[in-house]
Symmetry: C2
Subunit: 147 residues, 2 copies
């Protein structure tokens, strides 16, 4: 993990579809060297994947929300399974504290949200917040290179 890898990761985070030739120009290495480094970063698990970011509003799901679910029963893994089966849920964290699960959901209307919350309430108390804005879009922290 030297300064080259650092630049490569930053560039791939900014634009995952960048070409190796352009990436090579950006870091001052040859294209094969860059391709080799990227493959190593993938196999080391540093790069977990490449994902297109989709505008959920334009897909018909303009309402995004965060739901804190205080799981009440002992069947935690069963709850996780059910949550996985709900397509409105686009991300989910298992967290410390009373909540247990923090869920991110995307829905078309408030009626659907109400119905989703009703389904989640069988697993415990819920606290829902509507997302108004995303002042910081997903980014990576500064990378401390060994070189």
């Amino acid at each position: 993990m030297d300064r080259f890898d650092k630049k490569i990761l930053a560039a791939l985070h900014e634009n995952a579809r960048i070409r190796f030739t352009e990436l090579a120009r950006h870091v001052n290495l040859s294209a094969p060297a860059v391709a080799d480094r990227v493959e190593k970063l993938e196999r080391a698990g540093v790069i977990r994947g490449y994902h297109a970011t989709i505008d959920l509003g334009k897909l018909g799901y303009p309402i995004q929300c965060l739901i804190e679910l205080t799981v009440k029963h002992l069947d935690y893994f069963s709850v996780v399974e059910q949550v996985r089966g709900m397509p409105e849920i686009v991300e989910c964290f298992s967290v410390t504290g009373t909540s247990g699960l923090t869920i991110k959901a995307a829905v078309d209307t408030m009626a659907t949200l109400q119905e989703l919350i009703a389904r989640l309430m069988q697993f415990g108390d819920t606290k829902t917040s509507i997302v108004i804005d995303v002042p910081v879009a997903p980014r990576i922290p500064e990378i401390h290179a060994e070189d």
Copy 2:
């Protein structure tokens, strides 16, 4: 937004670096047709970008947490600016409810987390939850095609 676009979006969400030729095979269209559709989806803002997902733990930030910040003052935009300037903060939502901001952070040690929370406390009350697991990694909901 027909079934072709739907499959294209799903494939690019799964692997943003997929080649047009492979994508074309996957959706049963020609490569130029796929390239054309992708460009249109980009320009329509349906595709917002392509991002490599980095393992923050492997980068030296093994601790991830969600911090609910109940912003107390009226200088909300100033708080957002300051939050943007904190590199440990990797994502931030402006939300309804008492919290105001829900922040996702990645840090190397608990000491750093403590220091981050101390910095955030000047803006309001904080409630921190450590992320134990991610049972549902970011995904897209089912796409309702018009065709």
